[in-house]
C-alpha cells in the first residue's frame, strides 16, 4: 500500500515535471511570439501612420466632417485610429499564434471563436462609422440648403435626415454581427414606418393649404401674390 502510494506520487511528480518541462519552453515560445508580435505591430503602426499622413487622410476626413464626429466622441484623428486598429489586429494575431503553441485545445477554440466574429464586428464598426459620416454630411447639406432657400424649420429637416440615416446604419451594423436579426429588422421597419407615417400625416394636415396654394399656382387658377420686391442682383 505504501509502495503504491509512493509510486503514485512519484508518477504524479514525474507527470508534473514532464508537463512543466513541456509547458515552460512552449510558454517561453509564446512569450517570444507575443513580444515579437508587439514589436512587429508597433513598426507596422508607425509605417501605416506615416503612409496615411502622406496621403492626407486627416485633411480629407476633416473636410468630410469625420474628424468632428471623432472629436465629439473623444477619439483621436482618423489616421491615428486606423493605425491603432492595425496595431491591435496584428498583435492579437500574434497572440493567437502564441496561444496555439501552448497546445491547450479548449483555450484555442474559444479564442478562434472570438476571432471568427472579429471581421463581422470590424465591418459593423465600419458601417456605423460611414453611417455617422453620411448622416453628418447630408444633414448639414440639407440644413444649409433649406436655410439659404428660406424654408421653415430647417433644423427639423436636418435632424430628420440625420435620424433616418443613423437608424439605417445602426440596424445594418447590428444585422452584420447577427445580433437578434429578426428583432432588429422588425424594430427598424416599425421605427422607419412610424416616422414616415408621422411625416405623411404631418405634411397632409399641416401642408394642405400650402399644397392647395402650390397646385392652384401651378394650374394658373389663382393670381400670384402681389410683388413684394426682389433681391438685388449679386453679379
Amino acid at each position: 500500500m505504501k509502495v503504491m502510494i509512493l509510486q503514485g506520487l512519484s508518477q504524479a511528480y514525474d507527470n508534473l515535471v514532464h508537463m512543466i518541462a513541456i509547458f515552460v519552453p512552449r510558454f517561453a515560445v509564446m512569450l517570444i511570439i507575443v513580444v515579437v508580435g508587439w514589436l512587429v505591430a508597433l513598426v507596422l503602426r508607425y509605417v501605416f501612420r506615416a503612409i496615411l499622413h502622406v496621403s492626407r487622410l486627416d485633411r480629407i476626413s476633416e473636410e468630410a466632417g469625420a474628424s468632428q464626429v471623432l472629436r465629439k466622441a473623444a477619439l483621436p484623428s482618423i489616421s491615428e485610429l486606423l493605425s491603432r486598429a492595425l496595431f491591435w489586429v496584428v498583435w492579437l494575431g500574434f497572440m493567437v499564434l502564441g496561444v496555439s503553441v501552448l497546445g491547450i485545445p479548449e483555450l484555442h477554440e474559444q479564442i478562434a471563436r472570438v476571432f471568427q466574429l472579429l471581421p463581422q464586428i470590424f465591418i459593423a464598426i465600419l458601417i456605423l462609422f460611414f453611417g455617422v459620416l453620411a448622416s453628418n454630411f447630408l444633414s448639414r447639406a440639407a440644413l444649409l440648403a433649406s436655410v439659404n432657400a428660406g424654408h421653415r424649420s430647417p433644423r427639423v429637416w436636418s435632424a430628420s435626415i440625420r435620424f433616418v440615416i443613423l437608424i439605417l446604419a445602426f440596424s445594418m451594423a447590428l444585422e452584420q454581427i447577427g445580433l437578434a436579426n429578426q428583432t432588429v429588422i422588425s424594430a427598424f421597419s416599425i421605427v422607419f414606418g412610424t416616422a414616415m407615417l408621422a411625416l405623411a400625416i404631418a405634411f397632409g394636415l399641416g401642408g394642405r393649404h400650402l399644397a392647395r396654394h402650390a397646385l392652384e399656382q401651378y394650374f394658373g387658377s389663382r393670381k400670384t401674390e402681389p410683388d413684394k420686391g426682389e433681391e438685388p442682383s449679386p453679379l
Binding site: 485633411r59 448639414r140 444649409l144 439659404n148 433644423r155 413684394k228 420686391g229 433681391e231 449679386p234 453679379l235
Partner: protein, 423 residues
C-alpha cells in the same frame, strides 16, 4: 501645354485653314440663337471699323445648343452693300469664322479653354470674349476691349460698366475689395461676361495645370484675372457702356452666385498664395474711361426678406459658423443679428474680418469647403441688408466713397488674414 486638351478634329482642321491671326473674338454660347446673330454682327462691324487691316477671326465655342445657335453664327453676315456706321468702311482682309461644339452641356470652363486653345493655335495677338446674352453690345465695346491689348500692349482687360447702384453687389461688397486687398490690384468686375486678353496670357493660362479643377469650372474668368495679376501680366480696365439688368429669374440666384464666385476666389487665394503672401504694396490699375458709373433710379427691393434670411440663417447655422469663425467675430455677428430691423448694421470692419476668417478656414478645410461657402450666404445677406439701408438715398459719389472706405478697411485687416492663413 501642361495638360493635353482634346480638340475635335473638325475644329483643328478649321483652325489650320485659318492660319495665323492678329485679332480673335470668342463667343461662348448655349441656346443663344435668338441673340447671337446680333452679337456676331457687332463683332463683324468692330472688325471692319477698328481692325480693317488686321487678320481677324471669330470663334464660337458652343455647349451643345439645340436651337440652331451654331448655324446662326455661320449664316449671319453684315449686308456688304450697306456701310458700317455710315462711313463706308469694309475690312481689307477676310474675316474667318470658326464654330465648334466642345461638349453636350454648357461649361464656362470648357468654353474659355476652347477659346484659349484657338487663340494659342492661331497665335492671336489680341483676343476678346463676348457674351451673346449682352443685348446692348456695340462695336465700341469690342474695340475698347481689344485696343489696350493690340495698341498698348496690355495683357488683360477687365470691363467697367455703367450699372444701377444696387446691381453687382457681390462684386462691390466682396470680390472687388477682397481681391484688391489681397492681390494688390483692384479689378471691379472680377467675373465679367466680357473681357480681353493677349495671346501671351492665353498661352500662359492654357499651360496651367488647373483645367480639371471643379473650383474654376463655373467662373474661370476670376481665375484668369487673378492669374494675370499674380503672373505679372499687364492688366487694365476699360469702360464699355451700360450693363443691362438681367430680367428677374434669368440670372444666377444669390446662393449659386456666392458658391461659384467666392468658391473660385478662395481657391485662387489657396493656389496663388506664393504671390500674395509676399506682395509688398498695392498698385493702382490703369483704367480707360470712368472707373465707376452708377445710376440711381428707385428699385423695388424686399429688404425685410433679406433681413429675415440673415437673422434666421445666423440662428440656424450657429454650430457651423462657430467652427469657421473666431469666437469674438461669431459673438459680434450674433449681436448684429439680434438687433431690430432698423438698427441692424453689418459694418465694413466686421464684414472684412468675417471674410478673412472664412478664407482662412477654407484654406485649412475645417469643414467641407462647399458647405463653408454656403454658410457664408446668410452673412452676405446681412451685409447686403445693411448696405441697402445705408445707401437708400446715397448718390453715386457717396456710394463710390463708401466702396473706397470698404477697400481701405480690407487693406487694414490684411495682416489679420495673413496671420490666420499661416496659423
Amino acid at each position: 501645354m501642361a495638360e493635353e486638351i482634346l480638340l475635335a478634329d473638325d475644329f483643328v482642321r478649321q483652325l489650320m485653314s485659318v492660319g495665323e491671326v492678329d485679332i480673335l473674338v470668342g463667343i461662348p454660347s448655349f441656346n443663344n440663337a435668338a441673340t447671337i446673330g446680333r452679337t456676331v454682327l457687332a463683332v463683324e462691324q468692330s472688325f471692319q471699323q477698328g481692325f480693317a487691316r488686321q487678320r481677324v477671326a471669330l470663334v464660337n465655342a458652343d455647349g451643345g445648343s439645340e436651337d440652331g445657335t451654331r448655324e446662326v453664327v455661320m449664316s449671319t453676315r453684315a449686308d456688304k452693300s450697306s456701310t458700317v456706321g455710315g462711313r463706308g468702311l469694309t475690312s481689307l482682309r477676310t474675316e474667318q469664322r470658326v464654330v465648334t461644339q466642345y461638349g453636350n452641356e454648357p461649361s464656362a470652363g470648357l468654353a474659355l479653354r476652347t477659346i484659349l486653345a484657338a487663340a494659342d493655335l492661331l497665335r492671336a495677338k489680341a483676343c476678346a470674349v463676348i457674351s451673346p446674352a449682352t443685348s446692348n453690345l456695340t462695336t465700341a465695346w469690342i474695340t475698347n476691349l481689344l485696343e489696350p491689348i493690340y495698341r498698348d500692349n496690355f495683357d488683360f482687360v477687365a470691363p467697367l460698366y455703367n450699372r444701377h447702384k444696387y446691381d453687382g453687389l457681390l462684386a462691390r461688397n466682396l470680390l472687388y475689395p477682397m481681391s484688391r486687398s489681397v492681390f494688390g490690384h483692384g479689378i471691379r468686375e472680377l467675373h465679367p461676361s466680357e473681357l480681353g486678353f493677349s495671346g501671351r496670357l492665353a498661352s500662359h493660362c492654357l499651360g496651367q495645370n488647373v483645367w480639371h479643377q471643379e473650383d474654376i469650372q463655373d467662373a474661370p474668368e476670376i481665375w484668369m484675372a487673378l492669374t494675370a495679376i499674380s503672373s505679372d501680366f499687364r492688366c487694365c480696365q476699360a469702360f464699355l457702356g451700360t450693363k443691362e439688368r438681367a430680367a428677374a429669374g434669368t440670372g444666377p440666384d444669390i446662393v449659386t452666385a456666392v458658391r461659384q464666385n467666392v468658391g473660385s476666389l478662395f481657391w485662387c487665394l489657396d493656389t496663388q498664395e506664393n504671390y500674395w503672401l509676399q506682395r509688398a504694396q498695392p498698385e493702382a490699375l490703369r483704367s480707360f474711361g470712368p472707373e465707376s458709373d452708377l445710376t440711381c433710379e428707385p428699385m423695388n427691393l424686399n429688404r425685410q426678406r433679406i433681413y429675415e434670411l440673415f437673422r434666421s440663417g445666423v440662428q440656424d447655422l450657429g454650430p457651423i459658423l462657430q467652427s469657421i469663425l473666431a469666437a469674438e467675430t461669431m459673438g459680434e455677428i450674433q449681436r448684429v443679428a439680434a438687433q431690430d430691423e432698423e438698427k441692424c448694421r453689418f459694418s465694413g470692419e466686421l464684414w472684412a474680418r468675417t471674410l478673412f476668417e472664412f478664407a482662412a478656414s477654407h484654406r485649412h478645410a475645417v469643414l467641407n469647403r462647399d458647405h463653408m461657402i454656403q454658410a457664408l450666404v446668410p452673412l452676405y445677406r446681412g451685409r447686403i441688408y445693411s448696405f441697402l439701408v445705408e445707401h437708400q438715398d446715397s448718390t453715386a459719389k457717396e456710394m463710390e466713397a463708401d466702396t473706397e472706405n470698404l477697400c481701405v478697411e480690407f487693406e487694414k485687416q490684411r495682416p489679420y488674414l495673413v496671420e490666420r492663413w499661416k496659423a
